[in-house]
């Protein structure tokens, strides 16, 4: 029997998303193009959700990283720019050993500090829109009037600002957790 959306959502938020930091680091260490990391992560999330429709895994962590590994291998094969060695290396990787760095949960103080930093990183106008709308509770119209911009600019800024803040809070753009010395990098296929 297929799992209902509520159950999958609960599992995804409670067990998968807290791994985002580690997962992003894993992808970055094992894929040459750093810019693709977030796209790849997004695809992995979609795969996890699709699987969970049939069965919610018991060991989420192992399932996440195994799925990630297989996805990277598939991407590499499809891209056809890597040598045979890359795929073999990935396949031989002991996923759990790779993630020997333990999850570090931020304390409340650290999370707040992160929130402040996240807010400071926003452009001044986006930050102001967020604070007016969400902390002071002004309507879109009032925010637009206060800042002398259009309502659609307000919506646009709020949208982008929230995405940036969430990205930052989820830790996906954090400093890379240093990986083991034998980090694998995709190599060009020899003609």
């Amino acid at each position: 029997m297929a799992n209902d959306r509520g159950a999958i959502r609960g599992w995804f938020m409670r067990e998968v998303l807290p791994l985002e930091r580690s997962l992003t680091g894993y992808i970055r260490r094992n894929w040459r193009s750093q810019a693709d990391a977030e796209d790849i992560r997004h695809e992995i999330y979609a795969k996890l959700i699709a699987s969970a429709r049939d069965r919610i895994p018991t060991n989420t962590r192992a399932f996440v990283f195994t799925t990630a590994k297989h996805h990277l291998i598939n991407l590499a094969r499809r891209a056809q720019i890597v040598s045979f060695d890359y795929v073999a290396d990935l396949e031989s990787l002991n996923v759990l050993a790779e993630e020997a760095v333990p999850e570090r949960h931020l304390t409340a103080r650290e999370e707040l500090k992160r929130l402040r930093t996240g807010l400071e990183r926003l452009s001044p106008r986006v930050r102001e829109v967020i604070l007016l709308r969400r902390l002071e509770g002004l309507s879109r119209q009032q925010t637009a009037e206060r800042l002398g911009i259009s309502v659609s600019s307000v919506e646009h800024d709020l949208c982008n600002g929230m995405r940036e803040l969430v990205d930052f809070m989820m830790g996906g753009q954090a400093e890379i957790i240093p990986g083991p010395a034998h980090g694998i990098v995709a190599r060009e296929r020899k003609p």
């Binding site: 999370e111 002071e136 509770g137 969430v166």
Partner: protein, 322 residues
């Protein structure tokens, strides 16, 4: 469809969902969009999760006063930004963090809709209960405890702290306590303070706190004031209880004119009672009613008191039986 555009759509959905105009049809459209692809679900739930985290953290932050005070604007508050009381309560048991005064966070704003009620813990251990149609700003940390009641009514159970007086600014009046239980109601320049427990001091706002002008009231007292005067009603603990029955979602009347009762109900309901003739308006009634059920009250007026009730759109017109 690229990840970027999917995430943009997810963000727009999330923001739209917080608007008060969100209807069932919108929810159906959102569900349909989520059904289209697990990529949509991934993007949406991730942002949703991030928002919840942000809201929880914002609740932990001890708010810091802005340099310039913001004018109080009438606003429509996206309610879902504020975490539910349960989440806030959980967050509040964590250590209270103080942010240096960078002007990043202004006083926290709390609001309720018509007929709404909300209970909120404050970082100092005090508790606030907001009544219907209320807007309140809080600047409460370890070093200061200040509230601005812009409109509506709130009940405060204040944690005892002699070194940091708890101050409520309500229009023309300033209410100061050390640790006590009381309510403040503000309607423009008209302010009412009812005391359940402890000592409450009422000053005129802005006045250099000359003791001679202050009054101190205690349990069973209700003070009613405006810019120039404050009147303390005869002490009555049961009257204070009646005045606070909204905390259980009830309205209690005892020899109350129908005009006054109607005015009370109209605070909690979008359907408004209109008392048509002066005779009806002056009739005294009593009883214990559910605040947000004006239809039941109108039925009772008709059945028990014989009034005539005509439903007319968003109004219930009440007139003397003839």
């Amino acid at each position: 469809m690229s990840r970027d555009s999917i995430e943009k759509q997810a963000a727009m959905w999330l923001l739209r969902r917080e608007e008060q105009t969100w209807h069932e049809a919108d929810q159906a459209a959102l569900d349909a969009w989520l059904d289209e692809s697990p990529e949509h679900e991934a993007a949406f739930w991730r942002l949703e999760h991030g928002q919840i985290k942000l809201a929880r953290m914002a609740a932990l932050a001890a708010p810091v006063r802005r340099e310039a005070s913001q004018p109080a604007l009438p606003r429509r508050r996206p309610r879902r930004w504020l975490p539910a009381a349960a989440v806030l309560a959980a967050a509040m048991t964590a250590a209270v963090i103080e942010l240096p005064n960078t002007g990043l966070f202004g006083p926290r704003v709390y609001t309720t809709n018509i007929g709404g009620r909300e209970e909120l813990p404050l970082p100092d251990g005090s508790k606030v209960e907001l009544n219907t149609a209320t807007r309140l700003r809080a600047d409460v940390s370890r070093t200061r405890r200040e509230i601005w009641l812009d409109r509506g009514e709130a009940f405060f159970a204040v944690a005892h702290d002699p070194s940091h007086p708890f101050v409520v600014h309500a229009g023309p009046k300033t209410v100061t306590v050390l640790g006590t239980k009381f309510s403040v109601r503000r309607d423009g320049e008209h302010v009412e303070v009812a005391v359940l427990e402890g000592l409450v001091r009422i000053d005129n706002a802005g006045a250099g706190k000359t003791p001679a002008q202050a009054i101190v009231i205690t349990r069973g007292d209700i003070a009613v004031g405006s810019a120039r005067s404050t009147l303390v009603e005869p002490k009555s603990v049961s009257k204070v209880d009646d005045a606070l029955s909204w905390r259980q979602g009830r309205l209690k009347f005892h020899e109350t004119t129908l005009a006054e009762a109607a005015a009370q109900f109209n605070r909690y309901n979008r359907t408004k009672l209109v008392i048509v003739d002066p005779q009806a308006a002056g009739t005294r009634i009593g009883g214990n009613f559910q605040a947000n059920n004006v239809e039941d009250f109108a039925r009772l007026l008709s059945n028990a008191y014989g009034f005539r009730v005509d439903a007319d759109g968003k109004e219930l017109k009440v007139s003397s039986p003839h």
